[in-house]
Structure formats: structure tokens, C-alpha cells
Symmetry: D2
Subunit: 338 residues, 4 copies
């Protein structure tokens, strides 16, 4: 940690900073400039200390971290790429894994038809929500446990693993009986009770980025999962909130190379929730693959016009089939495959 | 709802929109312009319908709401101001209610000293967190149930009601045994499982604004509480995430008059979490009162330098006493009192 | 325009709205719902009217546009793609046009070496700034006219057209003598005096997106150029300001398909200014091509370590050569070429 | 400047950083931690150096500034408050200076009526735009020089100084003949050609904050004015762009105490452009005074319904008179006066 003293800070103030650091078992080095003194506080776990510990002391102007606040998710902690395996499918390797299906499970016919369609076009995981976090209490809230049963049937019929969202820490054991991958939604990225519960379950998990969280906060949230011993963590970029109003969320395309640089975890992209409109999904999906994403999470509905949730961002089976063809070409051009 | 058709939309496409509206029991009126046709869809609950229902249809360019997505929190639903009563204290009336205390309960001496100090300076509710949602798993997570016991002791000793945060839907009944007011933190504003559980408890609740949520989303989240029959809802503006980096969050000062205009719920302001720095708290607290806030939630710690959490944004008891004097003058100038 | 009246608006208030519309030569249609009345105001140029004209009237709750505020840049005005020609190079067609070179012209040797390198790797336009808009008055401000002379020499020696920025409306005629394409920087996107001057010059122009402007505002700024009769307009996405702090600006990847949908103008992408770091440029450049961009504007410097401006975001000639190879593969996969 | 090396950086890489610093005449101190080496680079003008100079070197992970990028606007450069005098009115002292009038000068009757009204209610500067930066080329662009003549007449008739915007660097000498204070609009905050020209004029100037610029960038822009020897600089907070959609811009209320802490320049607030709606102006204006602003810039129009520009955010003369009464009470409560 780097503690900058204000211009004219007294030697006693500088000493107080040094003493506090030493009392925490850290090393201290003073840098006395012409205008200001800077105290460097050195030690391997300073990333996990609050900067407030020093910022609160008299004569301190500003405190900057050297070590990042996340630890287990960092490439400094683990240099080589982490791979997650789902029913023999490797995520984080050469293959780009496409997970597809409807936003919400609405009924047996719908989920079966969706599963058939996405399977046929080459998706290797089926998505479908049954516990839906909806912004309004008057909206459709999902089929809950009944939906899980339907998902399980589709999974068995087509031999395709499934991913579904869990929203309550006390539902983790239930949902993980049915799901191959748990999903933490954007609004729950910092629901720490939920993260801890999933961490303990050891079930593979897709951690969606909070739509207003930085990459650093996202990786720090991943540390909650990893700290409980769950190493099966997949990150999912799904767009951030900005001032732009032509789309729902702005997909942060540069988060992909940033994550690849600072973390060992695989990262996939959800172009459907980012853009909010089916016509924009293909361009963003293709960009994600070109930028180095390890997979995609795409909404596909047998009949988007009749979808109970998020129809506007869902592809039809035929649009999805066409997109998969285009994605295969892009994947090949970056030396990967789907 | 207003459905704009694209230029050149066919009569059949316009008719499809009309038919869908009618099938939902809504009225339809066509507006045929020189360039475009606009379909107005009229009915009292169109605010609760998804715009996607129409946006997905062929020939539709854009759909705009007329009715707001929230209902129970709106002034159209209830014209007169709602008042919340805590131990005889009225929130939302002429009195500006100051809630103060440490970010986290750290021990008996600390909470007792804090309670004594804030009580003496005129605060009428004691704050103190025991379940702490921390961004890093390596940070202090709060004293949990032990902290609730300590809060209860301070409450009894000083006869001051207490507010504390609840983070897990399954803890609501436990926490509401100890707390006079439950707090929903910013990161949980859209934790719908938690909102539903608190709604059912009927316990008074402060709903903090999600730091990246619009006023509309905030009021829609309040609808989750109100829909379960809990009318004791107090909103709390605590700053939003912006690009500005001199503070933690930018307090959205105009949200106060906006809320007063569109909602009947009382609204208080948390200047401590917004700014993140004790030196900025007084100016923002005074601005909030001048802008019409019904109360303040301020962090006060007997010894901020030794605080385990958020010391940098905590006022000392003497700084708090001085601020209370300044706030009384502002309150009087807007015809209110503290 | 759609004017929503408040609940309980009087017939006189509704009539005032209608009268004002009629006085502006527009047509009016009333939509009387159960809760609210909505007035549709119809006519072909309502996009250019201020919504305030109606929002200010008593009894009005909100006014929404149907027509967009921009006109000449819209696909409704001109359905087919616009192509811009620079020395026989077509921009907006099948070829993806790469413009590359240093941020600033620093001297003869530097610009000649840069021109040679980018030419060799397949760039078809040379970039280099001579009037530099710097955030601090104490930073290097560019070589001004001397830099233009150096650019002109490099252009002649390698037969490559050049693009350079103009910042003062009174410099347009000077700069356009030396440059094949003028560049309007992000901070000048709404410098309307500058836009008008460039519009009159009829010189091809790259209009960078203001880093906090919406796509709609960007296209409305393009209307300033088009309204003066300059049809040689190329848009350039260069990232927007968000809360994310791992990069300088967040490239808005979905702006590419959005622009393609609503406008006829070609759009290129600047991955260098967006990310601010050479290591992130390749991923974002590849994403842009996959998403449908018509070209790229990339910073290349013969010796980034010694660059006077923005060295950190500049590629070396050899990194650029490698990237061009990768981009060719992506371009081919989306049926285009470089 | 603090240069953090990556984990495992070689001694040669650390030495390269040190050598570059020394070659720039700066002092260097090494901090060798258990995990990482940190190089402190010390000297009085490191704030004006680009961090890229070091970030580009091999083995460097991140570079952080100690010195701020702005210099002349900082309180470290000048500790005591700067006062600006306009016709004997002191700005930055105990008096809160209210500048009021229409967004645009529309004609003689309008500006005279506005001047009379705002003068009567206690405003001490008249505002009125004649060169209008409009987002669309099809909007009213202002009366230009004719408007200046009208402003001059109102100024003479009522003995009130005037403030008006200048948008083209070549108009500065013209406009400063008529105006007592020049205004730099939000979209021109980083129009450095304009700033330089105004700096040279030595005319008092209100520098509005760019709606997407940080406080640091704003003060760095002020350095452009100060560096040319113009010390008559007043800052104006007018709201920043955020995701919130209930208002035009979110007024950054904490920028007032932040500016007071880091700069010696006076700061005023424009609640009209921030909120965009007359009904929100009073609450925000009162908040600004309570937070410590030195003045206000408020739009007042004799007949907002007929205003050519921004009528929706304009107060009527009677609303303005009422607000001035309320503001006087607030000013008194913070020991100031209007």
C-alpha cells in the first residue's frame, strides 16, 4: 500500500502511519520527496487490508493499493488457465462452449422444443430459468421447482447438461440436484450469503458480472466462491450500465482481454441480456468470440413472440442455427472451434 | 403503451399489434401520421406489462410506456404522504429524523459509547450493522447474532430504537426480534427473495437505493415490500455509481424532489456511504436537508481511527454534535426541525 | 410526438396542447384512456422540434419523441449505405480500411518510419496528429503547421493518404490543404462551430464519438456536417466513459450494429484510444471487425517507449504486422477483406 | 509518481525505470517488498508528466500519480480563496451571487423584461445566450451579434452586469466588449483553443464543468485559463451524465466540498441545466447553497411557455422571486447572505 502524506505533514504523522503498519506485521519504507513524503507499506497480504486503516490517520492525503483486493481469482495466485469440466465438456480450452435456451422455462413443450433446437445447432449446454429475479412483483416469477423437473426431463431426453439460476442461499442444495451448472445472476453478484452457499456446494457455477460492478469487484466476488473451495467457477460478462440508451446494457468487450490478463478463470459472454434485442445479438456474439471469450450464453426460444419473459432478446431456432454457422467461421479464424 | 411502427409498416402488422392488445383486454387507438403509424394502447394496468410483448411483433420500431412500472409506491396510487412511526417518532412529517451510529457493531463498549453520543446530540435512532455484506471474503463480516444482542442492550439502556441490516431472507424473523427498523442494503435492493420476506414481516424497513438503479427501479423494488402488505417503507438515497473518482458514490441530490413528486413514501439520505469521507459528510448532509429529505443516516464512531469497517466515513462524536447544530439551522430555514 | 397528460388533466389543458401543435402546422389525434389522455402529434419534421414546446404546458406529464432528432444521417432519409472515397479507396464497402500511425507527428524520421511500417503491413491511410487537444496546458501540444508539412512529405513519399485532426474552425482550410481526411476528436464532437466549418469545406471527415454522447447525439452531430452539404462523413467509435477503471474508455461494441441499423454512414473503430493500452488493442480490434466495423484507426509508433504522446496505447511495427495478419483472418470469416 | 513493477520484474527492468526518472531530473527511491518492487519517483512537477512515460517500460505493472495533474488551480499552489470582482460584486466571499435570466436572448422586450424581473428579486448578474451551441443544426442558433447589442442595452438600462457564452475562439474579443463575464459551456470545457483565447483576454470567465468530466479534469482545464494569466476564473457545476433518467443530468453535489478542499477558485451551481425541469430547480438550488456554493446560475424567462430554448427548465419571474426568498433563509442558516 502507498500512503501519500499531505504537503507539510509532520514527522509525528508520518511516524503514526509507520507504527500502524508495523503493528499489522507489515514492512515500511519512507520516500521523502521535495514536496511530499510517501510511505510504502509492503507485505504479501496488503491487498486484503482496507485502505481506510491508513486514510483515516492525520496528515494522510490518499492511499493507493499495490496488491489487488482479490487474491484467489488472480493470475498471480495461479498462473495457468483454470479449466472447468461439465459432463466431459471442457470450458476454458480450445473449444468455445455455447449455452443456449429460453430465458425462462415456461412448460414442457417449450423447453423440449428449445432443447432439441439448440442441441441440433451445436449448443452443448441448455439454459432455462425457473427462479426468476424480476424487477416488478407483478411480473411472471418462474415455475420454481416444477421448472426444475421440466429441465431435468429435457436434460435426460437430449443428454445435454443444464444451467439454471439460483437466487436464495437456501435453495442451493435443491437446485444443484437438478442443474449441472448454477447461475448467479447480475443482481446477485454481491449477494454474499448466496455466494458462500454456492461456494460450499462445490457445484460448477457461472458468476455473472454485476451490471454496475468493476472487473476488480467481480473477481473479488469470485473469491467468495473460491474461498469456500469451489474451483469450478466460470465468469460471464453480460453488459454494464452506461448512459447509452439504444441498448439495455453496454457489453464491456475489453473485459475479456482484461480478465484473461489478470485472472486464470474462464470467461463467457451473454450477448442477449447485454443488448436486449435479438437483432443485435449476432454482432455482439461474434465480437465476443473474436475478442477471446471461452463461450457464449444465448437466449433461444421456439416462439419468441409468445415468450413470457424477454422475448425481444431471444433468437428463433433458425436464427440461432444461422448464427452458429457464422460463429464457427469466426472461431476458426482465431484458432478455436465450437 | 405507445407502439411506434416502422415507416412503411403494413396494415397487417398494425393489425397484429391491435389484436394482441385486445387479447390482453386493452383498448387500442390508431394514430396514422404522414410518415408513421402509432398505436396507443390504453388501460389501467399497462404499466405492469412488459414492453417486449409488442416490441417483438413485426413492423414495430419502438415501444414506450405511459404508465409507470411501479404502482403501489406511486403518488397516483396514493396521493397523500405516507408516514412511518417508530416508537412514537414520525418519519415523513415536519421532523427531520437523524439515525446515527457505527457502520458495524464491534463490541459492547463501542456500541454503548456510540449510542450515548448520538443520543446526546439529538439522533433518535441508533444504527449499527451486525450482518455485513463485504465485497471481499477476507474482510470482517460482522458479529451476527452476538451483535444483535449488543444492539438490544444499547437500545434498552438509552431507550433509543435501532436500525440494522438484514442480508438473508431466512434471517428476517430473527433480526426483526431485535431491530425496530430493518435495513436493506444497496447491493440487495433487487434481492427479491429478501424483499418478499421483509414484506411479509411487516417490520418497518429502510430500502437503500441500489447504487446503479434508477429511481423508477427503486420504486418498483419498493412495490415488492408494499405488495406483501408492509406499508412501513422508508426510502434511502445513498449515492449512485458514476465516473467521478473524487468520492465513492455521487449522491443524486435531485432524487429527493423527484421522489417527493412521484411517490408518497418518505425518503432519507445517507451522506456517509455516498461520499466515503468524513470531511465531505457535513456539506452533503446539509444539502440533503435543504433539498427536502425527511431524515439522515449518518455514521458516527467513538473512535474512527480504530473502526473495523468504514472508519474513513465516520464522524467523531464531537464532529457529529457540531453537524447537528448546523443541521438544526438548515432545518429551521426550510420550516422543519430536528 | 406523444404527449401524455397527467391523470385528471382538464379538457382545456388537452386543448392547449392540441392548439399549439396545430399552430405549428402539425396534426393531432387524441387517445383518451381510462386513466390518462395521450395526445399524438403527427408530422414529418417533429423530430426537429423541441419536446419542451409541449412539456412546458400545464397538465402535461411527459413528452416522448417518435421521430428521431437526427434526420440526414438516418437510414429513413437515405436507405442505402453511403460510401466515402479517399484516393480511390472505398470506405463502407467490402474492404475493411485500416488507418494507422502515431498519435502525434513528432519529427521527420518518426513519421517517415511510421508511414513505411504501416504501409508495409497493409494500412491504407496514415494517421498523425499535429494539432493536439491535450487535457493539460503543460503537455506537448503538437507541431502544428510544421507537422502538417512533415505529414505531406510522408504522404508523397509513400503514396498514402493522410488523416489528421483539426481543432479550430479557422484552421479547416489550412489543414484540408494537407490532409485527405479531417478528424474531429471526441472532445470536439459537439463543437458546432468546428462542425459547420468542416461541413462547408466538403473535405472527407472522420467524426469521432464524444466519449459521453449517445449514438443519437452522435448522429445529430453528423447532421451538422451533412446539413452543410458534406456527404463524406465517416463515424468513429472510440469508447465511452463508464465506471470501469481497468481501461481508459469502454468500447461500445454494440454501437456498430446499432449504427448499421439506423444510419447509412460508414463506421470505423479506434481500439487504441478506447483501451489506452497496447496489450488490449488486438482483442478489441478483432472484435470490431467481427461486429461489422468498416475500418480501424490504430496507433502505431516506431518506438512507443520514446513517444511524446500516448506511447502506452501504441503498437510497435512488428506487433501491428502480426495484428494485421490476425485481422485478415477475421475479415475473411465475415466475408470481407483488408 | 509511484511505479509498481510486476511480480518477478528483473533488476534490469527496475533500473530502466530509475534511469528514465533520473534522465528527467527526478529523484528515485526503491521499495523492495516481499512480492513486488515499487519505485517512488519524486520531484515537484511530476504531476505534469504523463504516467505513460513509465507505464510503457517492460516489467512495469501500473503507475499512480502522487502529484495532481493540475497545478495553478490547486490549493497547494495558492492556499487562500480566490475572489473574483465584477463591477464591485465580490464572488467567492460571504455573499452568494445569483446570476439569472433567459437561456437565450430572443428579442428586446424579452431580455428587458427578464432583466427587470431578476434585478427586482435580487439577482446581481443577468444571463442570456446569443451564441447557442445546439445539439441539432435545425434548432434555433441564437441571435449572435444582434443579441449582444440587446444584452448591452439591458445592462445599461438596469445597471446590471451580464454573462454570456462564447463558442468560437475568434469571437472572444467581440463578446468580451459586451459581456462582463464570459461563459464556457459544458460541451466546450475541453475546447482548448477557446480556453487559450479566453485566458489571453483576461476577461472574467465562468467555466462550466464538462458533463462527463471529472473534477480533476475540470481543474486541469481551468489551468489553461490560469496559465495564460487570467485569474478571474469561476467554476460552475451543472450536472454530470449518469444512467438516471428522471432528470437531464445528475447534479454532483459533493463536487462543491471537493472543490473547496482542493482548489482556491470560487464555484457556483447551475440547477437549471442540471435538472432540466423548473419543478426541480428550487430543491437543487437550495441544496447547493447549503453545501457551500458561492453562487447560482438560474434560468428565468418572462414567459417560459413561449421560450425558444429550454423553456421547461426556466422559472417564471414570480417563481424566481419566491425561490430567492427561500434561498435567503438558507444562506442565513449557513452564515452567508444573498
Amino acid at each position: 500500500m502507498i500512503v501519500e502524506m499531505i504537503k507539510g505533514a509532520s514527522p509525528e504523522e508520518v511516524d503514526d502511519v509507520a507504527q500502524r503498519a508495523k503493528s499489522l506485521g507489515l514492512n515500511v519504507q519512507l520516500n521523502i520527496g521535495t514536496d511530499k513524503t510517501v510511505v510504502a507499506i509492503l507485505g504479501s497480504n496488503t491487498g486484503q487490508l482496507s485502505t481506510d486503516l491508513f486514510a483515516i490517520l492525520p496528515g494522510v492525503e490518499r492511499v493507493a493499493r499495490i496488491m489487488k483486493p482479490y487474491k484467489l481469482a488472480s493470475r498471480e495466485f495461479k498462473a495457468e488457465d483454470s479449466l472447468v469440466y461439465i459432463n466431459g465438456i471442457e470450458i476454458g480450452g480450445k473449444r468455445i462452449v455455447v449455452m443456449a435456451g429460453p430465458c425462462a422455462v415456461e412448460g414442457e413443450e417449450q423447453i423440449v422444443e428449445a432443447a432439441r433446437a439448440v442441441r441440433k445447432s451445436g449448443a452443448c449446454v441448455l439454459r432455462g430459468g425457473t427462479f426468476k429475479p424480476r424487477t416488478s412483483p407483478f411480473s411472471f416469477q418462474g415455475l420454481a421447482k416444477d421448472g426444475l423437473e421440466l429441465l431435468a426431463r429435457a436434460r435426460q431426453q437430449f443428454g445435454i447438461p443444464v444451467i439454471t439460476e439460483v437466487v436464495d442461499p437456501h435453495d442451493v442444495s435443491l437446485v444443484s440436484k437438478y442443474a449441472d451448472i448454477l447461475q448467479v445472476g447480475s443482481r446477485n453478484m454481491q449477494n454474499f450469503a448466496l455466494l458462500t452457499s454456492i461456494g460450499r456446494s462445490k457445484c460448477p457455477v457461472v458468476l455473472k458480472r454485476g451490471f454496475s460492478c468493476t472487473v476488480t469487484e467481480w473477481l473479488t466476488a469470485a473469491d467468495y466462491l473460491l474461498a469456500e473451495g469451489n474451483n469450478q467457477v466460470i465468469l460471464c460478462e453480460r453488459g454494464i450500465r452506461t448512459f447509452e440508451d439504444s441498448i439495455r446494457f453496454s457489453l464491456d468487450i475489453s473485459s475479456i482481454p482484461v480478465i484473461k490478463s489478470v485472472s486464470h478463470l474462464p470467461v463467457i459472454v451473454d450477448p442477449s441480456h447485454a443488448t436486449g434485442h435479438y437483432s443485435l445479438v449476432p454482432a455482439v456474439a461474434k465480437a465476443a468470440v473474436a475478442a477471446g471469450a471461452d463461450g457464449l450464453l444465448i437466449e433461444v426460444h421456439p416462439n419468441p413472440k409468445e415468450a413470457l419473459v424477454d422475448g425481444l432478446q431471444s433468437l428463433t431456432p433458425s436464427d440461432f442455427a444461422r448464427l452458429m454457422g457464422e460463429l464457427r467461421a469466426i472461431a476458426k479464424s482465431v484458432d478455436r472451434y465450437i
